[in-house]
């Protein structure tokens, strides 16, 4: 077990609790930078996909995991980001401006939608955001003039200061572009969480009434959370557009909304790690299934017969397992494993048990 001896307030403010922790993340960063030379282009594409999902996951995690507001409509904001980015690029706006601008506009649209929608709670909020997702699909088809309707749009290759970046042409450059954006958003996310705004988000999640009694403006803070969340998801959408190359109304359908939500639940609600773990599951599962299927049919000589729905079924199966055995998600499981080794041999099984004996209504000692 490690004891951290804190000597100043900065010890509680800094991003890494202690030097070894900073070192682990440094190793992870080095690995991520070396990744293009460790794996081939196909898997590098998959890694890029995971990072894009992780960005979207961070966006949604801020809203669902940290502010406690559910959203089933975030694919709509991904779509908005993707379309805005490509439309602006077609008009001649360089990528380096169009992507952040697409994020900012998506954030503003999110804030406008949030003000009425976030007055709802729980299941009603879920239904309202679901409606946004469904509506957006239709709006994309109707607004054919800008969106290309059912045909969709084709994302142009990115050019940053003369450097051409293309998903297929220069996969390494595209990977680094996504990695840098991921790291920037991650840094901003961590900063917000250690600042008053992040604490206001968490306060809203756990007790609206006492957050209010301490001076948190509920409507404004919720709208801020929603706007930030939409902006980040919009940026993820913009990158997704470039990753997919071409997209139409079906690329950002309701299934994607649900997938995003499941992703952060599987990863572990309320932690940034959860967004990344969830993204790995969502991003890599289809490939994992395909590879497993191929090797199984190779052994039994079945030929490559596609099994319809196996992806959704596996996804659902994993979700059920997680909800049954690990409500805190993959990150929760990781925390338990880490605590086990840190405290060895003093780990107790009920250490992470949810305290049910001190309910809010129970006032007896």
């Amino acid at each position: 077990m490690r004891f951290v001896f804190k000597k100043s307030y900065d010890d509680d403010i800094k991003l890494f609790k202690h030097k070894p922790q900073a070192f682990y993340y440094l190793i992870l960063l080095v690995l991520l930078i070396a990744l293009p030379w460790l794996i081939d282009d196909f898997f590098l594409g998959e890694a890029t996909n995971v990072l894009i999902f992780a960005i979207a996951g961070m966006g949604l995690m801020l809203l669902v995991g940290h502010t406690g507001q559910i959203s089933l409509g975030h694919a709509a904001f991904m779509a908005l980001g993707a379309y805005l980015n490509v439309i602006m690029m077609q008009k001649g706006v360089p990528f380096i401006i169009s992507l952040p601008l697409a994020g900012v506009i998506t954030g503003f649209v999110g804030a406008i939608i949030a003000l009425p929608v976030l007055r709802l709670h729980g299941i009603y909020l879920a239904i309202a955001t679901l409606a946004i997702s469904v509506l957006t699909e239709d709006i994309i088809v109707i607004a054919e003039r800008w969106t290309g309707g059912v045909v969709g749009l084709v994302a142009e290759p990115i050019n940053i200061f003369g450097l051409d970046i293309d998903r297929y042409g220069t996969p390494i450059a595209f990977y680094f572009l996504v990695l840098i954006i991921t790291l920037l958003i991650l840094a901003a996310y961590r900063n917000i969480l250690r600042a008053p705004l992040g604490r206001a988000f968490v306060a809203l999640r756990d007790s609206e009434i006492s957050a209010q009694a301490l001076g948190v403006n509920i409507a404004k803070t919720k709208a801020t959370s929603f706007a930030l969340s939409c902006a980040v998801v919009g940026i993820a959408g913009g990158l997704m557009g470039h990753f997919a190359g071409a997209f139409n109304h079906e690329s950002f359908n309701l299934i994607l909304s649900i997938q995003l939500l499941l992703m952060i639940v599987i990863g572990g609600l309320g932690s940034i790690h959860g967004a990344f773990f969830g993204a790995m599951v969502v991003g890599l599962l289809p490939q994992f299934i395909a590879i497993t299927r191929d090797s199984i049919s190779g052994i039994f000589n079945l030929g490559s017969v596609p099994i319809p729905g196996i992806e959704t079924a596996s996804f659902a199966f994993i979700l059920i397992l997680i909800i049954m055995f690990e409500p805190m998600g993959i990150y929760g499981r990781w925390l338990k494993i880490r605590t086990y080794f840190e405290l060895f041999p003093f780990y107790r099984k009920n250490m992470f048990k949810r305290q049910k004996s001190y309910l809010k209504t129970e006032r007896m000692k």
């Binding site: 307030y9 509680d12 009694a213 001076g215 403006n217 006032r363």
Partner: protein, 257 residues
Amino acid sequence: MSLISLENVTLSFGGLIAVNNVSFHVGKGEVFSLVGPNGAGKSTVFNLISRFYDPKKGDIKFEENSILALRPDQVPSLGIARTFQNIELFEQSTVLQNLLVGRQRHRKSNLISEMFFAPSVREEERRHRHVVEEVIDFLELQAYRDKYIAGLPYGVRKVVELARALATEPKLLLLDEPASGLSLEETNDMIYWIEDIKNQMGITVIMVEHDMNLVSSVSDRVLALADGKELAIGTPEQVQSHPKVIEAYLGKSGEKA
């Protein structure tokens, strides 16, 4: 000069009159208690001051200005902090983080500067932490500083809630049953703390409490309520021996002891 005054405040929910024409004023540095049987409207008075409810009639003035135009989240910025009867802490956060939320009313940074964690944000953060650590010292919460609320016993949670209210650096502290569910020892600690809050920090306290030992040890004045109406107001002894108060608690009797 009175710090806060309620003038003929009336609040009704449908046909039920929860607070009926109640007036009182609390001077600076006073400890003022509200007592009364269950459903007397004591907590409702707190919720009126916190602006969770709008009074039907009457006015509430803090430092001579009406607060009725304010939103609930603007009330803390005046310097009014409160605790809740059924503890309302942020359960998935540590004690330290809970107390830091108490610093919200002093937030000066904005979204952009916080995103980059600008030097000004860091500077402010240090000041917040300084205040919070003083409160932790004062209420002897050091041992629980980095513990999650979800794992803390009831008595400690009560203290954490008091600490969070103090972290806002209030002028007026509203304590809703600070000693309910506490053991005798913990209640005695609470008595010392409330006395220190009054004498050392100069904070005015209004509390709702059933524990008459606590009420009579720390209160300067007591207001007894029943069915939303004022029964008696005065020193703890005066109120305790007031015939109407005895009647409200014990019922009418032919002969008095």
